[in-house]
Amino acid sequence: METILFLSPTEAALSKNTLEALAAAKQLADSMGAPFSVGLWGDAPKAAADSIASCGAVKFFAVTGGDFAQARYATDAAAAEALCRAAGATIVIAPSGSRWNRISAGVAHRLGGRADSHVTGLSVSEGSPAIVRWYYRQRMEGILTRAQRPWLISLESGIAPAWPGAAGSAVVEDIACAPAGVRTEVTGIESPAADQQTIRPDADLLFVTGAGWTKKQPDGQTKVAEAEKLILGFLKVSRASLGSTKSLVDLHGEGQATLTFLTHMNQVGQTGSTPRHAKGLSTCCHGEEPHTVGWRFIGERRAISLDPNCGWARGKADVLYVADAFAVMEKVNSLLAQKA
């Protein structure tokens, strides 16, 4: 019989993504008739354990201490390894996130197992977990099972409803962990200024900008400054998250006039991110399949382009508006400001 462990670092309150992964772990355990435990680590994980005390876990394990407050490989990997060993886990379910993604495969190696990341579906096939993940940058989807144990599975957000249960008082078994040779200190976080923060993972809407914003307009002139104003204005009134095509981001490195607030972190698509949002609006984008994978996981999609055959939109969007984005977005900003 499999032994399932839900594993997560803790910082503040458990995130929505973490509660989704907890629900998926519980569902997997129920489907397989297997016991499941919870493993948490951090500065003070008891509060997090209490917040999910009624989740049905047979045991709660925790690695606690100031050393484990920092998101760094040496201490996080040691804590995760200790928790997996304490639980005797054969299947480990964890929410995807930068902290866990940094260590999952390394921890699996220490345990003699394997890890799979960016999992977007989880089911049971012939008594074993079966996972869905994407290959070649979201170009094709694979469903697979593994013989190796322990099997560490990192779940992307959105594959299960967040666990909705009540808090309580969890009985937590403390696991000793003393990582040796720690030579790295986390010294801070660099964030863009609040008014320049354009990446908002929790936003309902992804706004994708393409290179068309920097091209010559019908009067023969580029209007980059005006484009900046319209885009930032839209982000302000809509609270959307900003994505960009590679071609637009690359203009910056090539020394061409471009949108100053864009970085490679905004890039979506083949060599960028594939964010998850309920809605997506693309503007002035062009390109074919390799680039459009950037909105593979967007729910409702609309596009504005002067090209009715735009590869971003045909077969990919629900609605394509053949129009000048400058004119449309100016009016959209005005309407949204009125609604606000």
Partner: protein
């Protein structure tokens, strides 16, 4: 000024502008006409290589190796372009670069090749690579390479490094932010995101110098058995998500804006 030995791990991937279609081969899933697809160095490994060359150039006495795994013919194809970019010594491994192989097996082959590089000094060693590949996209290989080499100062999604006596490293975290860490000294492992450097211009002199070592390295490429032991693929398929796109051509900007604003605010 410190000297570094920077080993960059990388593989080759199909040109992303090509149509990719999965087929079932004798050993599991593969790409249709895989050997016919033009190949280049994985984009994130490429960023890692350019950052490595930049760091080496700033620290005289430093050296860069590229440990690359892929079918020999594909590696040669990629190196024809790459050789003119940055000074590098190639260590070639002749094996599968398929995204359907297992990261652990790839990592084992890469780590063995790194350990076999003559004169590697752990006190100067920085292992670079892409934080993910454009094939498997798992973000697993570099972590396992680090574990095999006994490196527990690992960083993923790296966008910047400042190297002096210590290493100041910027890693991507959620919400478009960077975590700043300071590592006392090498050895360290960095899985690069995009970094901040543009692709270097071609330099024929660099190309000529590189080719003196690249061709012999390709000729003596060690076979690497890389598969996916223990993995059973139940299916691999292209997404069938074609949408019935409504084309709106004859509305004014004001009418379109009204539709869009209503759509955005309608939860």
């Amino acid at each position: 000024m410190p000297e570094y030995q920077i080993v960059v791990c990388g593989s080759v991937v199909p040109d992303p502008l090509q149509t990719l279609e999965p087929v079932t081969g004798p050993t599991g899933p593969a790409l249709k006409n895989e050997m016919m697809l033009p190949a280049w160095l994985d984009p994130w490994a490429g960023h890692a290589l350019y950052e490595a060359a930049n760091l080496a150039a700033k620290n005289p006495g430093s050296k860069v190796w590229l440990v690359a795994l892929g079918p020999k013919a594909k590696l040669q194809q990629a190196m024809m372009t790459l050789a003119q970019k940055v000074p590098v010594e190639l260590v070639a491994l002749d094996g599968s670069s398929s995204g359907f192989t297992d990261a652990a097996e790839t990592a084992a082959a890469l780590a063995e090749a790194i350990q076999a590089i003559p004169g590697i000094d752990r006190s100067k060693l920085l292992v670079f690579g892409g934080w993910e590949s454009a094939s498997r996209g798992a973000g697993a290989t570099m972590q396992i390479v680090g574990e095999i080499l006994g490196i527990t100062d690992q960083f993923q999604g790296v966008d910047g490094i400042e190297a002096g006596g210590s290493l100041k490293i910027l890693e991507r975290i959620e919400g478009g932010r960077h975590q700043v860490s300071v590592c006392e000294a090498p050895p360290a492992l960095l899985g690069w995101a995009t970094g901040n450097l543009p692709e270097p211009r071609n330099n024929p002199q660099v190309g000529m110098a590189n080719m003196r070592t690249i061709m012999p390295a390709l000729q003596k490429a060690k076979p690497a058995k890389v598969a996916a032991e223990g993995v059973k693929f139940l299916s691999v398929s292209l997404p069938k998500q074609a949408r019935d796109t409504k084309i709106v051509k004859d509305l004014s900007p004001d009418q379109i804006a009204t539709e869009i604003a209503d759509w955005i605010t309608n939860k």
